[in-house]
Symmetry: C2
Subunit: 212 residues, 2 copies
């Protein structure tokens, strides 16, 4: 086997093992020895691929973020032409995807926060940019943020095993969050925002404006 692919396989095995451990035993049980055991590698092998435990967490986080980034990009390409607020739609769909994917990215996130809260800076920065885009394209930015928050609440509550909702309800609520027609009845003219960024409010059709 090629050396490069051998490394990649080992790295992959270690990360898969890490996810499995977090999902099965909780983030507190994630140890380097456990990763070695679960992946079939020796501890030395794991340490050869990742110099520290933090490096494992970071790689895990980046891998999961990349996965949802890809989902997000594809979805965005699909709806950007038809949706009035493609950024919001994409974010909602991505969160739903995260909520239904078993080996969720969010597990990696929890583990990272427990071990080293500063790792949370990566996802937060990304989220900030997306949130800006959502606000930019929205006729009612606050309502858009609330829809986003609702999706996040559904995701996190089910992730923490504290959701009192059934699978059916869960799915139905996501559908409703995604359906723009259900949220057009109470939009409020974003007076303050309209005053300071005149262009954006009228250009709610397609183009997300880049701002600094």
């Amino acid at each position: 086997m090629d050396n490069a692919t051998r490394s990649e396989r080992s790295r992959n095995a270690a990360l898969e093992a890490a996810i499995a451990i977090i999902a099965r035993d909780g983030p507190g049980r994630l140890t380097l020895d456990a990763i070695a055991r679960e992946s079939g590698l020796s501890k030395g092998g794991v340490m050869h691929q990742f110099r520290t435990k933090e490096a494992v967490l970071k790689a895990l986080l980046e891998r999961q973020m990349a996965h949802f980034e890809e989902f997000s990009t594809h979805y965005m390409a699909k709806v950007s032409a038809t949706s009035a607020n493609p950024n919001l739609a994409t974010q909602l769909a991505t969160i739903r995807e995260a909520a239904t994917t078993p080996n969720s990215a969010a597990l990696a996130l929890v583990a990272a926060m427990v071990e080293n809260p500063s790792l949370m800076a990566l996802p937060r920065e990304l989220e900030s940019k997306r949130m800006a885009a959502i606000k930019e394209e929205a006729a009612d930015p606050d309502l858009a943020m609330l829809r986003w928050a609702g999706a996040l609440g559904l995701l996190l509550s089910s992730l923490f095993g504290m959701s009192p909702l059934s699978k059916d309800e869960h799915q139905r609520l996501f559908v409703r969050l995604l359906d723009d027609a259900q949220w057009t009845g109470l939009e409020q003219p974003a007076t303050k925002r309209a005053a300071k960024s005149g262009a954006a409010s009228t250009a709610k059709a397609a183009t997300p404006r880049k701002r600094a």
Copy 2:
């Protein structure tokens, strides 16, 4: 000093220390030795009050739950006469309270989940009952659940340090979530629910009314 109050003081000191540690250093740093150091007690003293670490977590969880239970009860008494959906209003207000209280109950929750996910059963059961009450009184149960989910999303995202929202936005969004008038434009007649639970829906005063 009375023996009973001496014990109580020690228990309290240990729990306060635990909260401080979680808030300052993260849930992963919560150890029995750290609790002893922070509280001024010896480790033996801590272990005398709590036989295991899990007992500490459980007590912590129960204490925080009791605190918010009290808040909840008071709020409920205040709004039950004037609000059409007092259960939802109370839950939203309580979640906001948790989000703004620095030594949040949610921190204890995170710590519990890291250490022993099964501890999450206590709060989940309570949450289920509240959710049932919210659905019961709601003209549009799904919308009510989404408002609840939105509040939870705001809470958890800020708790995890992954919120891209400013303090101002945070507060403004909570206000809007709590304002019934902002959510009456798009209520949907809960046809399915009305069919299967006839008695309850008519008993409550919350008739779905459309307003501009």
